[in-house]
């Protein structure tokens, strides 16, 4: 698979989400995740509302719910880290788990907390997945400018994105060459762990040196076209009023669900 293949998370489409301004979408996603994260554990109605919202958005994006679903599972392994809380959070005992010599007591509060973290992160990852599936990466990076990220950092990230493909390609070529060599030797993994680490380290080292040389040539190419170290960019178009109103409305909705979760539910 080429680098371009798996580096691109964008899925072509014609939905409203595809045509909407990336800045609006990014702010919407951030607002949604902020709101979701701030819902206290155990407020199931609020979580249900957030999940309904994000899956509604996923449906409207028309890139395929299965694909969004598969991608949204990316954070699941991390949930293991919150598992102990089921047993350590003080609260009403719910069940006992006998493991070898000792017994773990799961509590109601602990389980609530655990499931809440799971739902929060799943809803958040789904929101981010819809965002990247409906927004070309370049538009997303350009949208960073509207978040008051320092211009130098945005310029660095833009250049990084351009050369990601070139360098990932180079790294994959190096790894293919390694695979070909070790197959020829007849040992699949080839040698001891240290030997393997050595070959990986050598690859990283040679990739670094090539990269360093390349950065010098790019710098020259920039200078050749008048680059003077000052970052200049063509201004981004102002946001449309309707888009802004939509953003405000959706942020209000997210905020009021989060607020209701704390105050009412």
């Amino acid at each position: 698979m080429t680098a371009a293949g798996f580096l691109n998370r964008y899925l072509e489409g014609r939905s409203w989400f595809h045509t909407a301004d990336a800045r609006i979408k990014l702010l919407m996603a951030l607002g949604f995740i902020f709101a979701t994260t701030s819902i206290p554990p155990g407020k199931w109605l609020a979580f249900a509302a957030m999940l309904a919202l994000v899956w509604l958005a996923a449906g409207f994006s028309r890139v395929g719910l299965t694909r969004i679903f598969l991608r949204s599972l990316v954070a699941i392994p991390f949930i293991l880290i919150a598992l102990p809380t089921v047993f350590t959070k003080p609260g009403a005992p719910l069940f006992d788990l006998d493991i070898m010599l000792f017994t773990l007591t799961g509590t109601r509060e602990g389980l609530d907390f655990f499931i809440s973290v799971l739902l929060k992160s799943w809803a958040s990852v789904t929101a981010a997945t819809v965002l990247t599936a409906t927004t070309p990466p370049m538009r997303l990076l350009e949208a960073l400018r509207s978040l008051r990220i320092p211009a130098v950092l945005v310029a660095i990230v833009m250049l990084m994105y351009r050369y990601l493909f070139v360098l990932v390609d180079e790294a994959q070529r190096l790894m293919r060459a390694r695979a070909a060599r070790s197959a020829a030797i007849g040992r699949k993994a080839g040698g001891s762990i240290v030997w393997r680490a050595k070959s990986a380290g050598g690859m990283a080292g040679s990739l670094f040196i090539r990269t360093l040389d390349r950065s010098e040539r790019i710098y020259m190419a920039m200078l050749a076209r008048g680059y003077d170290g000052n970052l200049r960019q063509t201004g981004s178009p102002p946001l449309e009023r309707r888009a802004l109103a939509f953003l405000a409305a959706s942020l209000c909705l997210c905020a009021s669900i989060a607020a209701a979760a704390r105050l009412v539910l």
Binding site: L83, F87, R162, Y163, V168, A197, I209, S215, M222
Partner: protein, 345 residues
């Protein structure tokens, strides 16, 4: 904690060691993470600008792409798992700490924004752990090793420990934030995370050392001066007169971290803030009345209450990490000052 997972949509191995997703940290911790990360990145931009001038964008941009690509170079360890580079220490050693912070910031930021590798709202925390704490700790160790001796062996041993420690610091700092958020008890998270990453760190150390020895064989000049960035500056760097990091920065940073520690147990639990305070007002009676369910081995001795134990462990942890980071910064600062005075004479 998994060292790498297979992405369902692509089948490609992407690194996912410490990239915490959204939802795992409480809001105050996430916001404090943003503020602290922003402060460090701001300093890094100023410092790197001074060193690299107009080269900063092409150099840092391509180097960030390099780290991203280098993270894909994996090597099979055992039982179907494979190790790979994270790169914080390697970047710090070959580019210098400030440039490395920028490079790692770009890497971690792009992984979150474009690849859902780490959350968006918790990005500040992930940056703090992987792009800042890890780089500074790694650089501090490497710098120290090169101070002790300038030989190739010092370079390699220093590089190994730097890389090993950079991973552990990132893991410890992640555990700390998880503890502060109440997501998982610190008394459990800290030993588990650091323990696992003491193993993962060996792979990091090995690859870093072999990468360094390759670079040293191919371009010895790049590794001669540990405190200098890999690229000769176009113009001689302006000696920094007032640009030093004042002691105020440390104190502010330390206070922010501490306040996060102290606020966290109130903000992260199930009830909202006020309820929680009321709750805690009578915590001892409740704690004894309620059937406490702590994993037997991890009950913190001497401290009855979980929240208190968390706070105590958090304060100790923050102080340790902070001293480490501040020590690194101080070392770099004195070095810069020495260079500046040398240039003046």
């Amino acid at each position: 904690m998994v060292s790498s997972i297979t992405m369902p949509a692509t089948g490609a191995n992407l690194p996912l060691p410490l990239h915490a997703p959204d939802g795992f940290f409480s809001m105050p911790v996430a916001i404090a993470g943003y503020l602290l990360a922003a402060a460090f990145i701001g300093i890094a931009i100023r410092r790197a600008n001074k060193d690299l001038n107009e080269r900063i964008v092409p150099m840092m941009g391509v180097m960030a792409a390099f780290i991203f690509a280098a993270q894909m170079i994996n090597f099979p360890v055992a039982g179907g798992t494979s190790g790979h580079l994270i790169g914080g220490a390697l970047a710090a050693i070959i580019l210098g700490p400030w440039a490395a912070i920028l490079v790692m910031t770009a890497v971690v930021g792009m992984q979150a924004l474009l690849f859902q590798d780490g959350g968006l709202v918790v990005l500040g925390i992930n940056l703090l752990n992987m792009s800042i704490a890890s780089v500074l700790a790694g650089y501090g160790v490497y710098w120290l090793a090169r101070k002790i001796g300038a030989s190739f062996t010092h370079l390699l041993i220093g590089g190994f420990i730097a890389a090993w420690l950079s991973v552990i610091v990132a893991a410890a700092s992640t555990a700390l934030m998880l503890g502060l958020s109440g997501t998982t008890p610190l008394a459990l998270a800290l030993p588990t995370m650091t323990g696992v990453h003491m193993l993962i760190g060996i792979g990091e150390g090995l690859i870093t050392v072999f990468a360094l020895s390759f670079i040293r064989a191919a371009r010895p000049a790049l590794l001669q001066m540990p405190e200098k960035s890999a690229v000769p500056s176009a113009a001689p760097a302006e000696p920094s007169r007032s640009g030093g990091i004042s002691i105020r920065w440390w104190i502010v940073g330390y206070l922010i971290s501490l306040s996060v520690v102290l606020l966290a147990p109130f903000a992260s639990g199930s009830p909202d803030g006020l309820e929680r305070v009321a709750d805690d007002a009578g915590f001892i009676e409740r704690a004894q009345a309620a059937p406490y369910a702590v994993i037997a081995d991890y009950a913190v001795p001497g401290i009855q209450n979980q929240a208190l134990a968390t706070i105590a462990a958090g304060v100790i942890g923050v102080t340790l990490i902070y001293l480490l980071v501040a020590g690194g910064i101080y070392g770099i600062y004195t070095l810069y000052r020495r260079r500046a005075t040398l240039q003046h004479e």
